[in-house]
């Protein structure tokens, strides 16, 4: 039925068989497209991280000492823009999603392979336009607030165009995934037999298709404001500066669920595999993904409690914001309940998954201070917010992404990672991350505003500690990348199913053959049927 692991010879290279530039550039194979997305986004992860390191260097001293304030403002803008638009939004859905969605649902490819490769190249051209804007770097922060962004003579219009193209790619990918999940599931794979990673990416794709056009429209209005002087957002011309913030967050809040939901999906796959237990509360986790995708559209105003909205709007957005805590909590509790009476192996994917839970819980709980009206007024736009954001996005999404990379590296490359190096890297990253970002909670609570090129000397201790942490964190990431590169060439050959997983990707060879399945499998039960059953077949 499936490509048999035993039949794999040393010469077997699966989908990696063909060589040459064009075999990649014009490929229609979702796996190759996924790999290209992964390499592109990992490159920009390193670039964006480097800019973060430069920020930490500058903040060692309270006065501008390495960079001028103008340069500093450009650094944090590039850091945020690159990491958000070129790494964290596309990395999991377009990278790991492209590679694994078809395999996990028993399909040979996505629904529209040509659209898929087109999405990738639109993404690349968008990146080139964004890089072109570096000729006159942006200094607005990644949030582009008007009227500042309408006045600065940085290349806002060009950057907007680039982000518009990247967003276009995101919409097309989301559309492709929705159709794929609806139409291409293997016979017998009902909705409740889908792996929960698919549920998470399905919810993500809906957000991408619905929300991304709004940011495209917003950037067109901003470009029109700058080029034609129309005045949508300029009060001197009858416009409203807060209108831009509503538009911006109407996209940019839902999009944090584009960032976090796929990572949650990865965690949901890893925990049962390494506990050898059925996932606890399958339906609750599946529905909580959809609930987060839906509720994510109703809470954008919580970014604007101090912006000068009406008090009624402040109150409504605050209460709606707390509704997001419930589906998030359900997922965390269900993951932990899955561990109960499991047979737990602490391999590298599992320790990254557990780290995700640890850091994301801190990120989520500190979000309560920002969702509550009284305390948001205190800590809004301070380093407290910066810390919260990095705990959810780096501690959450990026750790989930790392977990996924360690989990699926053998499947994607046919090589095992070095477990010892993986754990060394993990330990350094965990220590470095917490030193870097936990201190920001303290600096923020003591009142240090974000986006400050220079700061009062009273905040120097936190900033020095945070910068030391950033160096440690960087060292850990360097070890991890060294492990990736080294294992790609020297790693042990990977068996088809190194972790004893029950989802479909572990039933094809590592790396998978070009068409994934010789015969499309017929699904007879859900993918989490670990453990001893009293009797009867799988669930439901």
């Amino acid at each position: 039925m499936l490509a048999d692991a035993a039949a794999v010879t040393p010469a077997y290279k699966g989908y990696l068989e063909k060589k040459g530039f064009w075999s990649w550039a014009l490929t229609l194979d979702h796996k190759r497209i996924g790999v290209m997305y992964l390499l592109t986004t990992l490159l920009f992860f390193l670039v964006g991280g480097l800019f973060g390191l430069l920020i930490r260097l500058e903040l060692l001293k309270p006065v501008a000492w390495v960079f001028s304030p103008q340069t500093y403002n450009e650094l944090f803008t590039i850091h945020g823009t690159v990491l958000i638009f070129l790494f964290i939004i596309p990395a999991i859905p377009s990278g790991l999603g492209n590679f694994f969605i078809p395999i996990l649902i028993g399909a040979r490819d996505v629904a529209f392979p040509r659209l898929n490769i087109m999405s990738y190249w639109i993404f690349v051209f968008g990146i080139l336009v964004i890089l072109g804007s570096l000729a006159h770097p942006m200094d607005t922060g990644w949030t582009f607030y008007t009227p500042y962004s309408a006045r600065t003579d940085a290349a806002v219009t060009m950057l907007s165009l680039g982000v518009f193209m990247v967003g276009m790619s995101s919409i097309l990918t989301g559309l492709n995934f929705i159709v794929t999940v609806h139409k291409l599931r293997a016979p017998g794979m009902g909705w409740y037999r889908m792996p929960l990673f698919i549920w998470a990416l399905y919810a993500t794709s809906i957000i991408q298709v619905v929300a991304t056009p709004v940011i495209g429209m917003t950037f067109l209005l901003l470009a029109a404001e700058r080029v034609l002087g129309i005045g949508f957002f300029d009060p001197a011309k009858g416009g409203d500066p807060i209108l831009f913030q509503h538009f911006f967050w109407f996209y940019s809040h839902p999009v944090v669920y584009v960032m976090i939901l796929p990572a949650m999906g990865i965690i949901t796959e890893i925990i049962p595999t390494f506990s050898k237990k059925p996932i606890f509360g399958y339906k609750a986790i599946a529905y909580s993904s959809l609930a987060l995708a839906f509720a994510g559209f109703l809470v954008w105003g919580h970014h604007m409690f101090t912006a000068g909205m009406s008090v009624v709007a402040d109150i409504l957005f605050s209460v709606l914001t707390f509704s997001v805590a419930i589906p998030t909590g359900v997922k965390v509790f269900n993951w932990i309940a899955t561990l109960y009476k499991g047979s737990i192996s602490l391999d590298s994917p599992m320790i990254y998954a557990l780290t995700f839970i640890f850091l994301f819980v801190i990120g989520g709980l500190t979000g309560m201070f920002l969702g509550s009206l009284a305390t948001d007024v205190e800590v809004h736009n301070t380093y407290f917010l910066v810390a919260h954001f990095h705990y959810t996005m780096m501690g959450g999404t990026v750790m989930g992404f790392f977990a996924g990379l360690h989990y699926w590296f053998p499947k994607m490359t046919g090589r095992m990672l070095d477990e010892r190096l993986a754990k060394v890297a993990w330990a350094i990253i965990l220590v470095g991350f917490n030193i870097t970002f936990f201190t920001m909670f303290i600096a923020g609570y003591r009142g240090m505003p974000r986006r400050f090129a220079e700061y009062l000397p009273m905040y120097q201790p936190e900033n020095v500690v945070s910068s030391i942490g950033a160096v440690i964190l960087t060292a850990g990431i360097a070890v991890m990348f060294y492990n990736f590169v080294r294992s790609l060439f020297k790693g042990d050959p990977a068996p088809a199913n190194p972790w004893g997983g029950r989802t479909l990707e572990w039933q094809v060879a590592s790396p998978p053959p070009e068409h994934n399945f010789d015969t499309i499998p017929t699904i007879t039960e859900w993918p989490y049927g670990y453990g001893k059953r009293a009797g009867g077949d799988g669930k439901p």
Binding site: D153, F280, L339, G371, F452
Partner: protein
């Protein structure tokens, strides 16, 4: 801001109440953190498989309606409690205080002007009497700024073209820092002011007293004015490149202007630059300086010029070099 830990620095009547909300949320947060991480660590240690051992047989547990109901209902009640408590205190901060004395705040890139009912304008320094409610009526002349006083736990954006408000009642004397907390360009982090809270008697004396102390040497008074009026956010006195041209060596030099002409930096030029900054813009610098008309009196201007004269004629800089570092401040 004198205290190492913010919590002890609460210096207005609502700050302490906001701290209580903070402690309430923190307690609930720590509770959930301990419950989740405790269970996670306990399960991992208790059910960890030794390396090399075969997998143990695990039970086929797929859900528990009771447990799931508990962890939906209990957190729902707690977060609603957090919302409600935050809402109640927020309303206290947002409700106008009857009889509050009003000060108008005008924020510009990158300084604050505080205008008192008697018409006096003070830059970057807000004096208020102890224990008396204050209303700030705020607007911006250019981009969005935000008035943030950590010790008062208040933070309100300031918008061009409309007014936003802030109320507080200081209950400690001393000096408290004001940050701009909405990114506003290259001088953002230097856009600082201080609130000086004085006993009522001292405040009355200040309010009725002469706006500036007489008798000080002219250049000395000018130096004070330059320091207190926010000039140093954009202009250095030692030749350092900042948003605006340095004041060092300015007096008597020939200044190249944006329209290609040149002008001699004499007293008339300096007064015009303070009162109508857009009239003659130095080549390579953005036209962003706000006017000081109505802020500095003619006597003040004389004092400022006297001070600039003391900064010497040396150290002339090329404005074109500056153009590079100043990119991106204005259309």
């Amino acid at each position: 801001m004198n205290n190492a830990f913010n919590m002890t620095g609460a210096a207005s009547q609502t700050a302490g109440q906001i701290d209580n909300v903070f402690i309430f949320i923190l307690s609930i947060g720590i509770f959930f953190f301990l419950v989740t991480q405790g269970a996670l660590i306990y399960f991992v240690i208790r059910y960890k498989k030794r390396k090399g051992d075969p997998d143990r047989e695990t039970p086929y547990i797929t859900e528990s309606r009771t447990l799931e109901r508990i962890w939906i209902i209990v957190p729902s009640i707690l977060v609603l409690a957090i919302f409600y408590y935050g809402y109640v205190v927020f309303m206290k901060v947002k409700t106008p205080i009857q009889g509050a004395s009003e000060v108008n705040v005008v924020a510009s890139q990158w300084l604050w002007k505080f205008r008192y009912p008697d018409g006096r304008v003070v830059v970057n320094e807000l004096r208020v009497p102890l224990g008396k409610p204050v209303q700030l009526t705020m607007t911006s002349t250019d981009v969005i700024h935000s008035f943030y006083v950590p010790d008062y736990r208040v933070n309100q954006d300031i918008l061009p073209g409309r007014y936003t408000y802030l109320w507080f009642t200081p209950d400690k004397t001393g000096e408290f820092v004001v940050f701009c907390n909405q990114y506003c360009g290259v001088g953002h982090s230097e856009m600082l002011a201080k609130i000086i809270v004085m006993p009522q008697a001292d405040y009355d004396r200040w309010l009725t007293g002469a706006p500036a102390a007489g008798g000080a040497p002219l250049a000395g008074r000018g130096e004070q004015l330059v320091k207190n009026s926010g000039c140093l956010a954009c202009h250095s006195t030692d030749g350092t490149l900042k948003v605006g041209p340095t004041l060092k060596g300015l007096y008597g030099s020939s200044v190249a202007l944006a329209d290609g002409s040149a002008v001699l930096a004499d007293d008339n030029y300096m007064k015009e630059s303070l009162y109508e900054p857009g009239a003659k813009v130095v080549k390579g610098f953005p036209n962003v300086m706000p006017t000081f008309k109505g802020v500095l009196t003619d006597d003040d201007v004389t004092a400022v010029i006297a001070y600039i004269k003391t900064l010497g004629p040396a150290g002339h800089m090329e404005p074109d070099e500056k153009a590079e570092t100043n990119a991106g401040t204005h259309r």
